[in-house]
């Protein structure tokens, strides 16, 4: 039976904040937009973001976008592209107001303005006193934003393909992206969506690690799609471990808990961040706090019977602040730990949380890849935004509150540029069967029957491997061993078989397709980490403890073909202001 085709002006893969903000922009301009999501849109992982979104509104303390830019460049350990960072920090302000107008129920100050809290790595006046830049809806900001964006898309009548899984991009002979092959999870039938422009907004891949704050659905689907389409992934060695995941379980405890005045103590009850970041203390950058915690534990000062975690104390803030400003955290502690955070300290450990790296794009969210004319040639018809993309605004370490900002600003930017692109390219290009062939082959690979290892077992091995060989502290020997093991696992995957070949809502098949994706992004992460012989941001090499700007102030690019590594320069020139040159990073 021939595969049905549907045609839209724009195709958006993923219905988190980036995808929905792009869809809203396009649908409001009367384009025909298809939004494909493997879960109902409000189940996307944006929903779990807690603390807030950064914008220099200056509602609480003096602020301006230029200070925000400085903090972001410094936080990135000077690997972020300064043109993109300037754009994001300027756009932050109108973006938050636009969201508020769309209905986001931000918490409020007495004067009726949006409530802003302190977050890590924020300063006034280029490294001075702590700033308060994070706009919050209690500690459910992601939920509030995602639901609002979905609601506005309902108003704008965007076309949703709920519970459809993206198999692969479709490119024509000239390399133009002309749509995607997707799978209707309920019926098990494939569908081709033809589009003039395609946006990948599929989020992160925390499921590649055993303990993660990420949801089950965060399997790097779009990143792996890009890899298979021949696009490299950028800066994949930079993976953020959030300081405060619930120890052993992984649920996120927002940085806002420290922003509201909470602090960390070791097993001796000592406020150890005083030794590591005398000025910013517990609100130093996440990479700094995570390393300090692991160092405390490694040196025998952990808390608990096994001395394997540290404690987050909020009890001095009073029940009113804790329960009012952090109701979601209060819930998580009650349900999963049986404690009240206003009374008892929370056991925490750095937990896999966020990919700074991803699909390389320019500040218009256009995917760029090395080609004939240089390292940043636009891939026609293809866009990426959000955690799956690498603009790069986060460089080697993302600041808290900048991820919601990233998805909103660059989701919107993608929408704006797609409008231009579709105006300039008003016709669908011809799609022939052979263009669809590679995507179909990927799907059919899992139709092979017979005995074999299970998807579940292979996935568990992958997650353990990544945790053991690519954690907070890294060195050549363990990573090289990890790469060998991962290559062996990749060979094993060929022998993995599904036992369930039924069509209707076959979640086993989806998990098998996700496993392919996790393998690809796992390899990208480990290979990139092995190659970068310096310590920068979240990438901490025990064998190369210093940052090396001479050799390594450059972006890495991993290609799937032969697991090849390439590099390209950092864009240090901002749009209008002076460049921030690299300096020692002290908090």
């Amino acid at each position: 039976m021939p595969i049905p085709h549907r045609r839209f002006d724009a195709l958006i893969l993923g219905a988190g904040g980036a995808g929905l903000n792009a869809a809203l922009r396009l649908a409001s301009a009367d384009l025909r937009v298809a939004v494909v999501s493997k879960v109902f849109p409000t189940r996307s992982h944006t929903v779990a973001a807690q603390g807030g979104v950064n914008a220099a509104l200056a509602n609480v303390l003096p602020d301006n976008w230029h200070w925000h830019m400085f903090d972001t460049v410094k936080g990135s350990d000077y690997l972020g592209d300064q043109d993109a960072i300037e754009y994001m920090c300027r756009e932050a302000i109108p973006t938050v107001y636009e969201l508020e107008h769309a209905g986001v129920p931000f918490s409020r100050l007495d004067n009726g303005k949006i409530y802003q809290r302190a977050f890590g790595g924020q300063s006034q006046d280029f490294g001075g006193d702590q700033a308060a830049r994070t706009c919050a809806a209690a500690d459910r900001t992601g939920h509030a934003i995602l639901h609002t964006l979905y609601q506005q898309n309902v108003r704008a009548r965007s076309h949703f393909f709920d519970e459809y899984f993206g198999i692969d991009l479709i490119r024509d002979d000239e390399g133009v992206v002309i749509g995607a092959l997707v799978l209707d999870i309920e019926s098990g039938e494939p569908l081709v969506i033809e589009s003039k422009a395609t946006l990948i907004a599929t989020g992160g891949y925390g499921q590649v690690f055993r303990t993660t704050t990420n949801a089950f659905i965060n399997t790097g689907d779009g990143m792996a799609m890009a890899l298979r389409a021949g696009v490299p992934l950028q800066d994949m060695e930079f993976y953020q471990f959030h300081p405060t995941g619930v120890a052993g379980k992984g649920m996120l405890i927002t940085e806002g808990a420290r922003g509201e005045g909470g602090f960390l103590v070791n097993g001796d009850g000592e406020r150890f961040m005083e030794r590591y970041a005398p000025r910013a203390l517990d609100l130093a950058s996440r990479d700094v706090v995570a390393r300090s915690m692991v160092t405390e534990i490694r040196e025998g000062r952990g808390a608990g019977p096994n001395k394997d975690h540290v404690l987050l104390k909020l009890d001095h803030l009073g029940a009113e602040v804790v329960h009012q400003r952090l109701p979601g955290i209060t819930d998580i502690c009650r349900v999963f730990l049986g404690i009240d955070p206003a009374k008892d300290a929370i056991p925490v450990f750095p937990t896999a949380h966020y990919a700074m790296g991803g699909i390389p794009t320019d500040p218009h969210a256009r995917v760029v890849a090395p080609a004939r004319h240089g390292p940043e040639e636009v891939v026609p018809g293809l866009y990426a935004a959000g955690e799956c993309a690498c603009v790069s605004v986060h460089g080697a370490n993302r600041l808290g509150g900048n991820s919601l900002l990233d998805i909103l600003v660059f989701g919107r930017a993608a929408g704006t540029d797609i409008l231009r692109f579709v105006a300039e390219n008003p016709n669908h290009r011809t799609m022939r069967d052979e263009h669809i062939e590679p995507a179909l082959a990927r799907m059919q690979r899992w139709e092979r029957k017979g005995e074999g290892e299970s998807v579940h077992a292979a996935k568990a091995d992958l997650r353990k491997l990544m945790e053991d060989h690519c954690g907070v502290f890294r060195e050549r020997e363990t990573m090289a061993e990890g790469v060998d093991k991962l290559k062996a696992l990749r060979d094993r995957i060929d022998g993995v078989r599904l036992q369930d070949h039924s069509k209707t809502f076959n979640t086993a098949r989806i998990e098998a397709l996700e496993l392919d994706n996790l393998m690809d992004v796992g390899m990208a992460t480990l290979m990139s980490a092995l190659h970068r012989e310096e310590s920068r941001g979240a990438h901490s090499r025990v064998d190369f403890p210093q940052r090396d700007d001479e050799q390594w102030m450059k972006h890495s690019l991993y290609s799937r073909e032969d697991d090849r590594m390439d590099f390209k320069p950092v864009r240090t020139k901002p749009l209008t202001v002076e460049s921030f040159p690299p300096k020692a990073r002290v908090y």
Binding site: L57, G103, R108, R155, G328, T507
Partner: protein
Amino acid sequence: MKISVYRYHPDTDDKPRMQTFEVEERPGMMLREALLEIKAQDETFAFRHSCGEGVCGSDGMNVNGKNCLACVTPVADLKQPIQVRPFPGRPVIRDLVVDMTQFYEQYRNVQPYLVRKDPLPEQEIPQSPADRDKLDGLYECILCGCCSTACPSFWWNPEKFHGPAALLQAWRFLADSRDQATDERLDALEGPYKLFRCHTIMNCVEVCPKGLNPTKAIGHIKELMLQKSI
């Protein structure tokens, strides 16, 4: 521990059946983890789930006769053998996966978005903390469907009665000091079914995993309608 789960596959089964699995209980184990263990034993078992912490709203199901989210339901609190079934009153697609189309349709029917008619200011639309407090207990809804699929009025008239989740959202926008579509919203809820089929049975309140109170929200809408009609 013994867990009995509802199994139905439309391609192979004439009718549904219950199947019992043995799962090793761990301290602090949530039902979702137990279901994942079953999935590891038998990959043909299908259920929706994602975040694992009660914010995405994917894994609503009926457990020992009561709707709940599996990821925030400790197995230690459940009488064994644990009986796990799909949401009542919804067409079953496969195993615990039900068709929620009508539930989402009712949500879309209440214009679940802020309507602002005045020109937009350059900055935020001001809102006092007291006015913002009125949205607490409303905006936190995760659209899991536990409430509406526990509501007898929704079982009987799912195409006419909006159901508790959609009505909670209707009130969320009526209660928002920034919204400027009160009259249209109330007019759209007129008639004997959309709103007024609520018989305050309060199943919705009992099952909401976020502790929200749709019955109270429905009461507020009725009061406002009454005020407007005088």
